[in-house]
């Protein structure tokens, strides 16, 4: 970009990037080579053959397909719920006047600092009393509830630059507050709502801690992965397949939407004004 670019910088970055994908390459290769060959290292070339055995076997030995379905359901419901409830609340906080508005807003947007660990004990006791352990609501409620801290902040930030003349004009034309939200604000706020959806999808798909504690029979992929790997026999091939199945969907979503993700992650952690 500026005059003489030192060639070595590209080389250094290239070498580091190559090192960076080695762990990923490792599980991919392990998943498609016979276990006897990779016992001495997946990178060895003295005997090279490929097999999809593990890719077929893992579905029979473990209910991986069911876990995939459970994960997809959980992530979809949590994502849709957040995408519906967040813009409504962000709109109310930004354009409407009501008692305790600012106090509630300050409490919600500062909750981003809370570690997940805070919800574990109280919700464990509550779900046990209500008989909700092993019910998907036990994880959906905290997934959606915890998301508001960053999602409302993100959408409200966007609304700060929303032309208030549009909202005023709608009101003069006789729109009620909810009609204004539906016909004027929502159609023009799809980008932050979409960003919120992507973040929530990735977060719920990858979640391990809460489903591990609150779900027993219908478990999502990350928990299933710990069970595939938890057995005593060394099953690196099956483990690798399960790991790839677990991470492939969020990884693709992440790479396709990486721009939105970086901006959102920043907001989510509250570092952005």
């Amino acid at each position: 970009m500026i005059g003489r670019v030192p060639q070595w910088t590209v080389w250094v970055v290239g070498v580091i990037a190559t090192i960076w994908v080695i762990p990923i390459l490792g599980i991919v290769v392990t998943s498609i080579r016979p276990p006897s060959e990779v016992a001495l290292g997946w990178w060895r070339l003295d005997q090279l053959s490929f097999t999809l055995d593990a890719w077929f076997k893992v579905w029979d030995q473990y209910p991986l397909a069911q876990a995939f379905w459970t994960t997809a359901q959980l992530a979809a419901i949590a994502t849709v719920a957040t995408m519906l409830l967040t813009p409504a609340a962000a709109y109310a906080f930004h354009f409407l006047k009501f008692p305790f508005r600012r106090l509630l807003l300050i409490i919600i947007i500062n909750a981003f600092v809370l570690p997940q660990q805070v919800v574990i004990i109280p919700l464990f006791q509550l779900w046990r009393e209500l008989g909700l352990i092993d019910n998907i609501l036990a994880v959906l409620i905290p997934y959606v509830g915890l998301s508001f801290a960053w999602s409302i902040f993100l959408v409200k930030n966007f609304l700060e630059d929303f032309p208030k003349e549009l909202v005023e004009a709608a009101r003069i034309d006789g729109c009620g507050p909810i009609q204004t939200l539906w016909y004027v604000v929502l159609p023009n706020a799809t980008s932050p709502i979409f960003a919120v959806g992507i973040l929530q999808f990735l977060w719920t798909w990858n979640a391990l801690l809460l489903p591990m504690l609150y779900l027993r029979t219908n478990i999502p992929l990350p928990v299933m992965l710990t069970r595939v790997s938890g057995t005593y026999e060394v099953n690196w091939d099956l483990r690798s397949v399960a790991a790839i199945v677990t991470t492939i969907v969020p990884l693709i979503v992440f790479l396709v939407f990486q721009r939105q993700f970086a901006a959102g992650a920043e907001t989510r952690s509250g570092a952005k004004e």
């Binding site: 910088t9 290239g14 580091i16 409504a88 915890l146 939200l181």
Partner: protein, 325 residues
């Protein structure tokens, strides 16, 4: 993303040069153009926020208050909880395992943040010299950030495993034949193995944030320096590094918060072991409450974690609260 990060970088710089003290408070208090403008009709407003309030109440407010309340009780299994005041906290700080946890947390959090942010920052500088040619490399490094922590954990177990299939031992073995070390089985190296694994995923975000910060530097500044005869190294040290500090600051905060709250990767790679050498406060809390069923004791540890998180978040909280209009 570029725009957003660039804007925040601008915001942060503007903040630094803005007037201090009372003058600054006045500025914060003054309503912005859109600040004072709001429509009435609070029944509709309450209708719109009611679901959020209910879910937020169950998932955030109740657990927060209840965790603090439970930390004052002695709870064993299903027996009736007994109020013991600050007993749990006294026990906690007398417990060698917990005191060890504090050191582990400090080392893990600081080392992970330092390694990932420094590396991400330096890489961003190098990438800025040739943005087009390093695009693919940036995506490769950023991809690690998109891999779920649980999956990343298993990848790194594969690298650190002590048998012939372990990549790290094999690579070191090239230089000193016969080398073998149980990285995850040795309490002295397990924590550092964990730090390396956590930093691997943590480099992507600082890289992207700092890279965006550098891209936001006006071309004219860089061209002027070049015309004045500055070498690339000088441009990097005197222009790019100082001007990308806003991005670095954001990255440090995000990675600190993430490392402090880490759970998945520790659970997968070491499970807190060997001999509890890799337990952070966030993991200790899980172990005591969910595997030992000492709920009150675990709650007290959670409150300590919460306090640590709050301390590093004070500037962000102040910023958000002032900005909440």
């Amino acid at each position: 993303m570029q725009e957003t990060v660039a804007d925040s970088a601008k915001g942060a710089t503007a903040n630094e040069v803005s007037p201090r003290g009372s003058e600054r408070r006045k500025l914060l208090a003054a309503p912005r153009a859109s600040g004072g403008w709001r429509l009435g009709d609070w029944p509709a407003a309450w209708l719109l926020i009611a679901p959020v309030i209910v879910l937020f109440g169950i998932a955030v407010v109740f657990p927060l208050i209840d965790t603090i309340r439970l930390s004052f009780f002695d709870i064993k299994g299903l027996a009736k909880p007994k109020y013991i005041g600050i007993g749990n906290y006294l026990k906690l700080f007398a417990d060698p395992a917990f005191r060890n946890t504090l050191t582990t947390t400090l080392i893990f959090t600081l080392a992970t943040t330092a390694i990932s942010v420094t590396l991400g920052w330096l890489l961003a500088m190098l990438c800025a010299f040739a943005p087009r040619r390093t695009l693919v490399f940036r995506v490769m490094i950023f991809a690690a950030f998109g891999i779920s922590e649980a999956v990343a954990g298993y990848m790194w177990i594969g690298i650190f495993r002590p048998d012939a299939g372990g990549l790290l031992n094999t690579v070191i073995g090239l230089f000193s034949p016969g080398f073998s070390h149980p990285w995850l089985g040795d309490p002295n190296t397990a924590l550092w193995a964990l730090i390396v694994a956590a930093s691997w995923g943590g480099v992507g975000l600082p890289l992207m944030l700092c890279f965006a910060s550098v891209q936001a530097i006006p071309r004219t500044v860089l061209e002027a320096a070049y015309l004045d005869g500055a070498r690339p190294g000088q441009i990097m040290a005197s222009i790019m590094m100082p001007l990308s500090l806003p991005g670095v600051r954001v990255a440090i905060f995000i990675n600190l918060l993430g490392a402090l709250r880490a759970f998945d990767i520790i659970y997968i790679i070491t499970g807190g072991g060997p001999v509890r050498a890799t337990e952070t406060v966030g993991y200790f809390m899980y172990r005591e409450s969910m595997t030992q069923f000492k709920l009150g004791y675990g709650a007290a540890a959670t409150v300590v974690l919460l306090a640590a998180v709050l301390v590093i978040s004070v500037p962000a909280i102040i910023q958000r609260t002032a900005g909440a209009r």
